[in-house]
Amino acid sequence: MMEYILFGILSLVAVVSGVGVITLRQPVHCALSFLLTLASLAGLYLLLTAPFVAIIQIIVYAGAIMVLFVFVMMLLHAQRGEGPTQYLPWQGLVGGMLALLFLGLVSYFSIFANAAKTSVSPAPPVICQAPKGLGDIPSMAHCLFNQFLFPFELASVLLLAAMIGAVVLTKKVE
């Protein structure tokens, strides 16, 4: 019962703040709304027994990436606002209908594929057996350093490349 209430509140807050991100006019308001989306998604991860992912989401996404966004908004404070967005008179209606169609297609295929999998396709191959619980850090470490060792090393190279790239890109050319 409590799970249903929590799921309802968290998903409602996530969707409403998601709509707020694409609707609000000021970029800083959109950033704050996106922070609320990230926090409610972290709550949903906790409901899905993924505590490590939830904490990493708060620390990395909400605590580092969004802070970077707000910093860049501070650097770009002297920008003009967005101009008029309606170039065709009926574009809002058609856009809304196409968005609903897209949402219906994605939901239909995700539900249909999930319902048909047990009857049609064989069981998917097991990538990692969790030696302890599902979201525990020992299980994740056991899987990360055995099956996912190569992507882990590649991820560190990617982060190094991103850091060097950011420093090189923002150097002022004399």
């Binding site: 799970e3 799921f7 998903s11 969707v15 998601g18 991100v21 694409i22 970029p27 950033a31 996106f34 989306t37 998604l41 949903l44 899905l48 993924a50 992912v53 990493i56 989401q57 990395v60 996404y61 580092a64 990436i65 970077l68 966004f69 860049v72 908004m73 650097l75 770009l76 002297a78 920008q79 003009r80 967005e82 101009g83 856009g95 968005a99 897209f102 949402l103 994605v106 939901s107 995700s110 539900i111 999930n114 990538i127 990692c128 969790a130 599902l134 979201g135 994740m140 899987c143 990360l144 099956q147 996912f148 990617l158 982060l159 490349a161 991103a162 790239g165 950011a166 890109l169 923002t170």
Partner: protein, 101 residues
């Protein structure tokens, strides 16, 4: 009875659609970037939901790697946006229509 996976998939689909609308509709480059991050978050939710259903810890590890790639992408993308702003004084993508730097 626990909440079914399909419910989480519908929430993920709604967030993905909202992110797609944001990418296609808004013209501020920073908000487009945030909508891309919202699409990535929706996919993360799908990964974790399926990981819970199959009893796989690999779902959460894919989220881990998606987070790493998203962080690297945000760093480089924001550096590019700062550069564009330095040379043109705008981040409205309708005004950025010349390839000359």
């Amino acid at each position: 009875m626990a909440i079914s996976t399909e419910t989480y998939l519908i929430v993920s689909a709604i967030l993905f659609t909202i992110g797609a609308i944001g990418v296609l509709t808004r013209r501020n480059a920073l908000i487009i970037f945030m909508s891309i991050e919202m699409m990535l978050n929706a996919v993360n939710l799908t990964f974790v939901a399926f990981g819970k259903e199959l009893g796989e810890i690999a779902g959460q590890l894919y989220v881990f790697f998606v987070l790493v790639v998203a962080a690297a992408e945000v760093v480089v993308g924001l550096a590019i946006i700062v550069n564009i702003f330095r040379s043109r004084d705008t981040v409205d993508i309708d005004d950025i229509n010349v390839l000359k730097g």
